[in-house]
């Protein structure tokens, strides 16, 4: 299903769109203006801005909007000069339209509005009816008006040729003001409401739309001649109404309802392909006598309304033959407004919370749907908070739309781990601190440029698959970086916030990026990280409050799941499900309080009592299981083994673990064992036949012979991987997310590993650094990764999208714990 857009306006007049395949509200690309209302269809959106003027926003598409202007040059033969400009007084003008009735000089053509541009200059059309003419494009006839032929004959007394020039509508993806050339006295007073629809009435001309508007004086206007090649339409026509209208709604087909000041609704009769304006009005009374209708919205054959007490009503019995319907049914919920979109789907704005609700379960057989479900999608700029709240267990994704698809796949995959055999690429995540770029450089621009450079590097750096042998394909740890001193001496959070904004704009403009929104969203996620650090400044309730929503361009397919109802995250199922309950605003308040109180509680109840004995002695815990092991000697083959992981608590209170692998050798029970504090890396080995992984120690790296183990199911393998990795981290005293100094790497399979450097790495000649480094996996698959020593980590995925690590750890199989 191609994606389509839900349009909405927040209480500040900012217009956002939410894609049916997206998870975030995206700010309208042209965000200069503030809007009161919008009405959208697939290809465009009309709106009333804060200046009460009407604007149209035509989405860019593959088909250019171009219009061919034409005029004819006419000549008559005379014996003196042959064919010449001098015509007889009874003839048509030298320049005219095709009929000859209208004088049309080349210079008389002007662009209809500032939103058009000429594609080229006038030129002669040398083809008549698809056939090339003689030089000059002339066609000949005995006299005007007549049939013209391309051949000049003895009796050809007149000739003409066609000049053409194309103009192109250029104001796409921006709000174009609808300019009126008509007499100011006849112009509508300022507009109050607008609704577009009617594209199903007739497809001739292409893209024909009905645009209806209501002015402040309660008059209804119809915009003439709106179609594909004339997106602005031509003029406003006044439509008489039985009373003063406040609001109007136009469905995709012939349904048109409006509300009157007095609280009734009026329904337009007689709309058809010959008369898209309709003929007359019928009045429908409000469902309740005390509370008139405040708002109405119509679809193909449904009508919803909101009365002044905010109650929502569904109109029963509406169809093409009976546009008035039969009776009202009260629905659950209180709304500010409702909007009916494609497929009769319904959205509303909640009365109390100003959130947008989607009516679930609207089907052809059950047009009134089942329940209201809040859309919790954050705005891109809020990703921060949702991110911070949920980035915990595994890699969350706070990225661009195409990647969000994958995110969703991950969520589903996690929910059903037993059946998914191939993990979709999990984005990188994590890094819980302000990005280094934040560096609070005194010159905002220079910082932004640095960021842009990073972006450029990321995008341009070719994939270098030869970079490393073995597992680690590329490693980077950029040490030299932004001015650390400055950042430490300038701990001013507002300055940092400002920097992010600048970064955002700069990055957006940066030409290197193939996908401009990519830069935008990515830097927005870094903005996000900021607000985690500076939540107080950022304000707790950034949860969007909506004023208007339009679903006229939004096609919700009943079979394709929407990602609007989960706060974005790429987490394991348990956490993902929890994130359903999180909206950014709540997150800021109640969640923060719980963390804070828990840490206070721990302090209160433990700090002075650490010398007390623990009630439960730490004992050895053994996890055992059956795996397969790639045996050490020839002929190499997989053999069934028993494995046991023993965890014990050392005298220093720290835990350590040993992995035992028991095998039979000539009927004799033998075992090998690995101290997990010696393990350097545990890598999943993708193998079609086996769910296997390899475990390396320094010794085994030297031998080029890791311990290879396989589980019967992927789930079982992940359980072991998760447990072994956790045990390795525990015995290496590694906790929490990677530090800023962590070294990042990706394997040639795209798995991402991170290692914490220790001072001993450079200490002596006795140990190779590689023998001391432990690599732990973080979620995700990337082909290239870059980091700096301030915790900024960016990567490029296999689909050529950029990712930024936004803090968190775990992910992949390390989930749910």
């Amino acid at each position: 299903m191609p994606s389509s857009l839900l349009w909405a306006v927040d209480i500040f007049g900012r217009v956002y769109t939410l894609s049916t395949v997206g998870q975030y509200w995206e700010l309208c690309k042209d965000a200069q203006l503030e809007f009161k209302r919008v009405s959208a269809v697939k290809q465009c959106c009309w709106g009333i801005a804060c200046d009460h003027q009407v604007y149209t926003y035509v989405l860019s598409g593959d088909v250019p909007i171009r219009y061919q202007e034409e005029t004819y040059e006419n000549q008559r033969w005379n014996p003196v000069g042959g064919f010449c400009e001098k015509l007889l007084p009874s003839d048509r003008w030298q320049w005219s339209d095709v009929s000859g009735l209208k004088h049309q000089q080349l210079g008389s053509f002007t662009l209809p509005s500032p939103h058009w541009e000429w594609e080229s200059d006038w030129y002669v059309d040398e083809n008549i009816g698809g056939e090339p003419t003689e030089k000059g494009g002339w066609t000949y006839a005995i006299d005007f008006p007549s049939t013209y032929t391309k051949d000049k004959k003895w009796n050809s007394c007149v000739r003409r040729r066609r000049w053409i020039r194309y103009r192109r509508y250029k104001s796409r993806d921006v709000w174009a003001k609808i300019v009126s050339h008509a007499d100011p006295d006849q112009l509508p007073d300022p507009f109050n409401d607008i609704s577009i629809g009617g594209w199903e009435i007739t497809d001739e001309p292409l893209g024909r739309l009905s645009v209806w508007a209501v002015s402040l004086q309660g008059r209804v206007w119809y915009r003439e001649n709106v179609c594909h090649h004339n997106p602005e339409g031509s003029t406003w026509s006044l439509i008489t109404t039985p009373g003063e209208v406040v609001q109007i709604s136009c469905g995709p087909y012939d349904l048109l309802w409006a509300t009157l000041w007095e609280g009734q609704a009026i329904v337009r009769d007689g709309i058809d392909r010959n008369n898209p304006q309709g003929i007359s009005w019928s009045i429908v009374e409000s469902p309740s006598p005390e509370n008139g209708i405040m708002h109405v919205s119509v679809g193909v054959d449904v009508v919803w309304c909101v009365t002044k007490d905010r109650k929502v009503w569904f109109r029963r019995g509406v169809n093409s033959h009976n546009p008035c319907g039969t009776s009202w049914i009260e629905m659950v919920g209180e709304m500010m407004m409702v909007t009916v979109g494609l497929n009769n789907q319904v959205w509303g704005i909640g009365c109390d919370d100003r959130a947008i609700y989607f009516r679930q379960g609207v089907t052809p057989s059950e047009l009134s749907g089942k329940t209201w479900k809040a859309i919790v999608s954050g705005r891109e700029s809020d990703r921060s908070q949702t991110g911070s709240s949920t980035s915990l267990l595994s890699a969350g994704c706070f990225f661009t739309d195409d990647i969000q698809n994958q995110t969703n796949a991950i969520i589903q995959g996690d929910a059903d781990t037993s059946s998914d055999t191939e993990l979709p690429s999990v984005p990188v995540n994590l890094a819980n601190t302000p990005p280094a770029g934040a560096a609070a450089s005194s010159s905002a621009n220079s910082t932004a440029n640095q960021t842009a450079e990073i972006l450029a590097n990321l995008t341009l750096d070719p994939l270098d698959s030869n970079r490393g042998e073995g597992t680690v394909a590329s490693i980077s740890n950029e040490k030299a970086n932004f001015e650390m001193d400055k950042s430490s001496t300038n701990p001013n959070p507002p300055a940092e916030l400002q920097w992010t904004n600048i970064d955002l704009k700069e990055a957006q403009k940066h030409p290197v990026l193939s996908v401009s929104t990519l830069a935008e969203t990515s830097s927005l996620s870094s903005l996000g990280m900021f607000s985690v650090g500076a939540e107080e400044q950022y304000g707790a309730d950034e949860h969007p409050l909506w004023a208007w929503v339009s679903g006229g361009g939004c096609l919700v397919d009943l079979h394709s799941p929407l990602k609007w109802f989960t706060a974005p995250s790429g987490l394991s199922s348990s956490v993902q499900s929890l994130s359903l309950s999180i909206s950014p605003a709540q997150t800021a308040a109640w969640r923060k309080q719980i963390f804070q109180q828990l840490s206070e509680r721990t302090k209160r109840e433990l700090e002075n009592f650490r010398h007390y004995e623990q009630a439960i002695e730490q004992s050895v815990w053994v996890k055992t299981g059956t795996l397969q092991w790639w045996r050490n000697w020839k002929p190499h083959k997989w053999m069934d083994v028993r494995v046991a992981l023993e965890q014990f608590t050392g005298s220093d209170g720290m835990r350590d673990s040993i992995l035992f692998i028991y095998y039979m050798y000539h009927e004799e029970k033998k075992y090998i064992h690995v101290f997990l504090n010696e393990v350097t890396i545990i890598v999943e080995v993708l193998n079609e036949a086996k769910h296997s992984f390899a475990l390396y120690t320094p010794e085994r790296t030297k031998q080029r012979w890791p311990i290879r183990l396989a589980a019967t199911t992927e789930q079982e393998m992940h359980d072991w991987l998760s447990l072994l990795n956790m045990s390795c981290c525990e015995s290496r005293r590694l906790q929490g997310p990677p530090s800023h100094h962590a070294i990042w790497s990706v394997t040639c399979k795209g798995d991402i590993f991170v290692s914490e450097p220790s001072p001993e790495l450079e200490a002596g000649p006795h140990l190779m650094p590689c023998d001391q480094m432990f690599w732990r996996q973080v979620g995700g698959h990337l082909r290239l990764i870059e980091c700096n020593n301030r915790g900024v980590v960016w990567g490029v995925g296999y689909d050529h999208t950029a990712w930024v690590y936004t803090g968190g750890y775990g992910g992949g199989f390390i989930q749910g714990m």
Partner: protein
């Protein structure tokens, strides 16, 4: 950065410093020293007090020793309530350590259940988990588990193994993605001021309109006197694991993150101290 996993850890590793003293009327051979211990909030008194029992038995005549029981300021402590709940309910806002009196005689039959072995605790614990899953998933998850998974939950609690416990317990915290939460929230509300043991009712985490219901919604529904009237002064504290979550906290989130290992949210409502 803190994440929700840390909440699980904080909840799991909550400890209450406790001072056990022998009841003055118990007959001892020599003076009984008080015994100090960090009690896991999520565990049960009789599960973690072997050391206490040994300590006091050493100074007592063997024939004086019968079933151990605990009391705090005159209230016998129910071993089948989690320790954190007992503390929140009876001893919040008091000075630490928590002073518990140990008894070996005059078992208060009408107040306490007998606990002759750990098997009794295990049975009680598993019964709670099963009841909770009946509420959350119509028992589907717990019934699909194998016996060894059940054992792992219990062993995890008994041996204070967070990973061991959560490796299994996370399955109990899942729900179908198309639903936004559990069927019903397993919770119990205890009030220090009433005789009634606790309140437990069916409560859905999601309102019919799809909104998430909050802790405040729950209290309004099942225990309205715990919620402060809008104009009134707040007279009560709503405690879970020694903290007071905001009433706006979604109940589903609380259930997933702040339930005790028995999968119940044990909520204490106590009078707010007047300073």
């Amino acid at each position: 950065m803190t994440d929700d996993k840390d909440v699980l850890r904080d909840v799991w590793f909550g400890r209450i410093p406790t001072c056990f003293t022998l009841y003055q009327d118990e007959i001892t051979e020599r003076e009984a020293e008080p015994y100090y211990l960090l009690l896991p909030r999520i565990s049960y008194l009789t599960l973690v007090t072997d050391k206490v029992k040994k300590h006091f038995q050493k100074v007592m005549k063997q024939d004086e020793v019968s079933e151990i029981w605990f009391e705090y300021e005159g209230t016998p402590l129910k071993w089948h309530y989690p320790i954190g709940l007992l503390f929140d309910l009876h001893a919040s806002n008091t000075a630490l350590p928590w002073c518990i009196t140990v008894h070996f005689k005059n078992f208060p039959e009408k107040d306490l259940l007998h606990c002759h072995s750990k098997d009794v605790i295990e049975a009680h614990f598993m019964a709670c988990i099963k009841e909770a899953d009946a509420l959350k998933h119509k028992s589907q998850v717990i019934n699909e588990m194998q016996k060894k998974d059940h054992k792992q939950l219990w062993m995890g609690l008994q041996n204070d193994k967070f990973e061991q416990f959560w490796a299994i317990n996370r399955k109990l915290m899942e729900y179908p993605p198309e639903e936004n939460g559990f069927r019903y929230i397993p919770f119990r509300i205890y009030q220090a001021t009433t005789e009634r043991p606790f309140i437990q009712k069916l409560f859905r985490p999601i309102a019919s309109g799809g909104q998430l219901r909050t802790l405040g919604d729950l209290l309004k529904d099942v225990c309205p006197n715990a919620v402060t009237p809008e104009d009134g002064e707040q007279k009560t504290q709503v405690m879970i694991h020694g903290i007071e979550p905001m009433l706006e906290t979604p109940i589903q989130w609380l259930s997933e993150h702040m339930s005790y290992p028995d999968n119940f949210l044990h909520i204490s409502i106590i009078p707010r101290p007047t300073d």
